[in-house]
Each structure stands twice: as structure tokens, then as C-alpha cells.
């Protein structure tokens, strides 16, 4: 459970982007200890993962936006995270995505990123965001291209070299205020 609604719920055909629940942590920690986490500063111990999980919740409180939990509608399991990150040390808000084992190759990341990017543009006033991608992360680079993002420059974040991709501006359906209240998830 969580004691305070912290993230709006966003639905797509296959996915539900929602706030964090205690029961999501096992999937989060499994990703953190896996080889797949090497592009996001890992692998992480369970304790490091717990801190990161809670910091993910706190990011929503501090910034008013953050990374959603991606729930796979059909299996009701956690398929990854997607959303906008602006940790200390970030030059500007970043669209980030982590897809967990077993959920790759189904276009779920693409679906999640489109939904998150669109929601952020419409409701958080974050349009034309960036993605930091490690040069070796060919899958993420391919996805960035598919999302219409362009390579902008080489940069570094927290001392680690990476590539900066710029996403296209979303066309807003109507001019929205910067702080639209989302739908609480519980």
C-alpha cells in the first residue's frame, strides 16, 4: 500500500502506468541485481535497490513528476518503469525506461514511452525532453530512434559518459496548465 497518492494513473492498451506499491519491490530488486541493470548504474544490492525504489517515490513528491511503475495489464505483473527523471546532477528532465526480463520484444517499451512522454508534455509542461543513453545500449538507442528522438551530443551524467537524445515536441491537444492534477492511483 501507500499512504499518499503520488502518481497519476495512465492507461494504454496493454499497460497501466501507476504509482508505487510495496509489492512492486521484488520485481524492482530483481531487475537491480540483474546484468540488465548495468546501463543504469548497477547491478545493485537489494539494499541499494530499496533505497532507489523509495527515492523513486520521493522523486514524485519533490518534483511533481517521476518514474511510473509499468504494470502489464494481462498478467498483472510489473513489467518495468518509465517516466521523467530529474535527479540532482541531471541537466534537464529525462525520459527514462527500464523494461524487466520477459517483457522485451513486445513493443511494450515503445507503448510505455509514448504514453509517458505524451502525459508529461500535456500535464507536467515537459515537452521535448531528453534521454541519456549509454553508447553501448543499442536496444535503447534503437527505441529512441523509433520514438522519433534525435542524437544531439555526447555528454556525461554523474561522471558517466553517455549520449544525449532529444525527443520531438508533442502536439498538445489543448493548452494545459503546468500543474494539472492527475488521477490518484489509490
Amino acid at each position: 500500500m501507500s499512504f499518499a497518492p503520488h502518481a497519476p494513473t495512465v492507461e494504454t492498451p496493454d499497460l497501466i502506468l501507476r504509482g508505487y506499491q510495496e509489492g512492486d519491490f521484488e520485481a524492482f530488486a530483481a531487475f537491480g541485481t540483474s546484468e540488465r541493470a548495468r546501463h543504469v548504474g548497477g547491478p545493485h544490492t537489494r539494499w541499494e535497490s530499496w533505497r532507489a525504489f523509495m527515492a523513486g517515490v520521493g522523486h514524485w513528491v519533490m518534483r511533481g513528476y517521476g518514474m511510473w511503475i509499468i504494470e502489464h495489464r494481462e498478467t498483472e505483473t510489473v513489467a518495468g518503469r518509465v517516466g521523467i527523471l530529474m535527479n540532482d546532477g541531471w541537466a534537464e528532465p529525462e525520459l527514462g525506461w527500464h523494461i524487466y526480463d520477459g517483457f522485451e520484444g513486445k513493443s511494450l517499451a515503445y507503448q510505455a514511452c509514448l504514453a509517458a512522454r505524451g502525459y508529461a508534455a500535456q500535464h507536467f509542461g515537459l515537452n521535448g525532453v531528453i534521454s541519456y543513453i549509454h553508447a553501448d545500449n543499442t536496444r535503447s538507442i534503437a527505441l529512441a530512434h523509433r520514438l522519433g528522438a534525435f542524437f544531439e551530443c555526447e555528454t556525461s551524467v554523474l561522471g558517466q559518459d553517455c549520449l544525449l537524445y532529444r525527443h520531438p515536441q508533442e502536439i498538445l491537444s489543448k493548452p494545459g496548465p503546468l500543474n494539472t492534477k492527475g488521477t490518484p492511483d489509490d
Partner: protein, 176 residues
């Protein structure tokens, strides 16, 4: 969007205990980077990592419904430490924790804040017992725990701090 946590505001003679605010971060980061002071709490010289720990404080309130307050010194209006109930995954039990920043030590502030937080935990949150985890050698914290009536119970391995001493506070039935 704006997210409201409804963290209570608690008052003492010299302190206000309130929810953390982004503007508290510089004082916290300075404390964490000052390893002579923070070694027994969780030293962190890297500002970006300290920020993530601060974000964790917010997340802890959301997921647990309790957490660390910022202690604000009434006279200066500045953050002078943190205190509250902390219960990360892997912790043996919820603990009462406290930290006082440079320049605010030796005035009984930690005790004033921690006792107020303890009273809140018992009276408003319904905790029936509380512990404090203290790293061996942190004599100031041990002395404060004992002044507050806490008693050494056992030594255990903390997931973050390694060897750790568990003190148990008097329960609400004793204090009320």
C-alpha cells in the same frame, strides 16, 4: 502536479518538527559530507547520492506513513537536524533516529526533538515500542539514548551500517 503528504507539524520550546522540504537539502548534504559528524549515521560526500537519500526520506513518508522530520530551530528558522521514525527494508524494527547539524550541538536539541518525535509515535501513531540503532563507538548517541531511558538489548548486523547496537526505549505505558 503537486503532491501533499500531510505530515504533521510538531512544536517544542525551541524546535519545530515538520515535513522535509527541498530547501532543507543543502543543510542535510553538508551534514552527510562532513564524515566526522555523519560516520555513525551514513556519510555521503557525493551530493547527487545525498540527494537520492533525501528523496528516499520523502518516499519513506509516502510508503510507511511516517518518517524523518526536519527539525527547524525556531530562533533562526533554519534546519538544525532531523528526527523521526525510520524503518527501511531489512531494519529489525522501526527506530527512533536523530541527527543534529554543526553549530547546534551541546544544547539538548537532539533530546528535545527526539523526545517529541517519540511522543508523537506513541500517542498519535500508535507505536507500542521503539528502538534506536547505534553504531558502536558513537558515544554521544549512546549517552543520549540512555538519558532518554533506552536500554541496550543486543548487537546485530545492520544492512547499511554493519555491526550495530540495538537500544530499546521505554514504552508508552512507562512514559505516559
Amino acid at each position: 502536479m503537486t503532491i501533499t503528504l500531510n505530515i504533521p507539524r510538531l512544536e517544542t520550546e525551541r524546535l519545530i518538527l515538520r515535513g522535509p522540504q527541498e530547501s532543507d537539502f543543502d543543510a542535510l548534504a553538508a551534514f552527510m559530507a562532513d564524515t566526522e559528524r555523519s560516520w555513525g549515521f551514513g556519510p555521503e560526500k557525493d551530493r547527487a547520492k545525498a540527494w537520492r537519500w533525501f528523496a528516499l526520506v520523502f518516499g519513506h513518508w509516502v510508503m510507511r506513513g511516517y518518517g524523518y522530520f526536519t527539525m527547524e530551530y525556531r530562533e533562526t528558522g533554519q534546519p538544525c537536524g532531523i528526527t523521526g521514525i525510520w524503518n527501511p527494508e531489512g531494519w529489525p524494527e522501526p527506530e527512533l533516529g536523530w541527527v543534529v547539524y554543526a553549530g547546534y550541538e551541546g544544547r539538548g536539541i537532539a533530546r528535545e526533538g527526539a523526545e517529541r518525535a517519540r511522543r508523537w509515535a506513541y500517542e498519535d501513531m500508535g507505536f507500542t515500542t521503539l528502538t534506536s540503532n547505534i553504531v558502536p563507538g558513537n558515544d554521544r548517541s549512546i549517552a543520549l539514548a540512555e538519558r532518554m531511558g533506552a536500554v541496550y538489548e543486543r548487537t546485530y548486523q545492520n544492512v547499511e551500517m554493519g555491526e550495530d547496537l540495538l537500544f530499546r526505549h521505554p514504552g508508552p505505558e512507562v512514559l505516559s
